[in-house]
């Protein structure tokens, strides 16, 4: 078969989000606008400006489903735990089992920003205390960047590519597209892709110092994350993981797998930190080019897009993002597609954000709805000057959702955009 013509679909999903650690719980949350943002006493104790956060709520006993008692000894890497919950659940959701023997047709591309930062901190304290010999056997595997893909690959017996990508807040979207390319080229049949992020003060401190997190909602956590709102005042730090089994359509059909959506195409690029772009700000030329190329790659037209799941973090850059979408799609006012931001409910899951939001996008296709934007009753005038406020739903809308565009943007001036279609 001509590899150019291979079609690629998604056959399983898993989630570990601040507002749900199973697919049914997460689906219920996003349909009903349930926030996962809570007051964070640890951030308060450490004197953070922002004292609210979004963390997956995982009961102690639940961990045993993903890590044996032995693996839990000296385990201190919440990002790996989130990734295991999302990743292993996605594999199971796809109707697949851990392999007894190595499976050379299946791989893992699972990204992260850092790995095991709490374990890293613990290790550094021991080393400085002349206790290097007491680090134990798992300090390396928990703190190496590829820890999450190594854990997943080992638990499932995967023998194709097993790697971790990293591109800040674009990581999860990039992982999906890297998997898509590899399957499309015929080098793998299926890849467990996704991304994760550690939670806690040692991840979020740098953002607090950058003054990009909100400090105005410490006493009203659920109202804190306000993408596209006039009263948005910065993002809410969060963490979590989303995962998806990306599969060759032929293989999916052979197995009789359920299909969430087809990946029509996508694009990743960078603004080169030139023009208006910098280490922390996006170059609009590159953002628009990324969206346009994703559409071109998908063989659709911009007017075919039913809805957009944006990056939209609740900082002053939201208006610029809407302007980039409007320019790239050539659609404005009431012609603009519906748009939403999951961050209104879960905050900014950083390197986990793209994957958590992709899972939300896929659920909208599977269940034919658009989830509400919460905390967005007062849309920023800069945004309503470009698109009609009715395109930013504050209540769930049930409607045919055929084609969804999802984009993520990250520090380093990097962009990723993917186009999904109902199969």
């Amino acid at each position: 078969m001509n590899p150019q013509k291979k079609r690629v679909v998604i056959t399983g999903i898993g989630i570990c989000s601040p507002n749900g650690i199973t697919i049914p719980e997460f689906l219920h949350s996003i349909q009903n606008g349930i926030s996962g943002i809570r007051f964070d006493p640890q951030l308060e104790a450490l004197g953070f400006s922002c004292q609210i956060s979004g963390k997956p709520q995982i009961p102690e006993s639940y961990i045993l489903n993903y890590l044996t008692e032995l693996e839990q000894r000296q385990f201190n890497s919440n990002g790996i735990l989130y990734g295991l919950i999302a990743g292993l659940d996605a594999w199971k959701d796809a109707g697949l089992k851990p392999n007894d023997d190595v499976d050379f047709d299946s791989g893992v591309i699972f990204g992260t920003g850092t790995s095991g930062i709490d374990k890293f901190r613990e290790s550094i304290y021991k080393i400085d205390d002349m206790q290097t010999r007491r680090l134990g056997s798992t300090s390396v595997i928990q703190t190496m960047a590829s820890g999450i893909s190594a854990y997943l690959g080992g638990k499932l017996g995967l023998g194709n590519i097993v790697t971790t990508n990293s591109s800040a807040c674009t990581t999860g979207t990039e992982a999906l597209l890297l998997a898509y390319d590899r399957i499309k080229s015929g080098k793998a049949k299926r890849i467990l892709a996704g991304s994760t992020s550690d939670s806690g003060p040692y991840i979020w401190g740098g953002f607090d110092a950058l003054k990009v997190c909100t400090y105005k909602y410490n006493h009203n956590p659920e109202a804190g994350s306000r993408p596209m709102s006039e009263t948005a005042s910065g993002f809410v730090p969060a963490a979590g993981s989303g995962a998806y089994v990306i599969e060759d359509l032929e293989s999916a059909l052979e197995r009789g797998a359920d299909i969430y959506a087809e990946i029509l195409g996508g694009e990743v690029n960078s603004g080169g930190q030139r023009g208006q772009g910098s280490m922390t700000a996006p170059n609009p030329v590159a953002v628009q080019r990324c969206i346009r190329n994703a559409i071109l790659d998908s063989g659709i037209s911009a007017k075919d897009i039913d809805m957009v799941n944006g990056h939209l973090t609740a900082t002053i850059k939201d208006g610029l993002e809407i302007s980039n979408w409007a320019e790239a799609l050539g659609r404005k006012g009431s012609d603009f597609p519906y748009i939403n931001s999951l961050k209104s409910m879960v905050g900014h899951c950083l390197s986990g954000s793209g994957s958590v939001e992709i899972v939300a996008s896929l659920l909208q296709i599977k269940h034919q709805f658009v989830f509400p934007n919460i905390n967005c009753e007062d849309v920023h005038p800069e945004i309503t000057a470009l698109i009609d406020a009715s395109k930013i739903p504050t209540q769930k809308i049930e409607m045919p959702v055929n084609i969804v565009a999802k984009a993520s943007f990250g520090f380093g001036d990097v962009n990723g955009c993917v186009i999904f279609k109902k199969y």
Binding site: E69, L70, R73, Q74, R134, G136, S137
Partner: protein, 84 residues
């Protein structure tokens, strides 16, 4: 601490890492941690650290390197306890 108590303590330390339960049930002085109990070799350092904690001793690098069997472990524990 009697020899039996030492062996019992050592068994409880080793138990979580064992991948061959049958060999563990018939454990004796000749039992090899990796070959017989199929313990992941990376976990030998954890066993050494747990042994240090349980007996209040410190196991030097050379001793750790030869601590591959029950017999070797017992002799190292005995030696280090005597040095205390």
């Amino acid at each position: 601490m009697t020899q039996t108590e030492i062996i019992d303590t050592l068994k409880s330390i080793v138990k979580p890492y064992v991948q061959n339960q049958q060999a563990f049930e018939t454990l004796d002085e000749k039992t090899d941690f990796v070959k017989d109990l199929q313990i992941n070799s990376a976990n030998l350092v954890d066993i050494a650290l747990d042994t240090e904690d349980a007996f209040g001793i410190e196991i030097d690098n050379e001793s750790m390197q030869r601590m591959l069997t029950v017999e070797a472990a017992l002799s190292i524990i005995e030696e280090k306890r005597a040095q205390k």
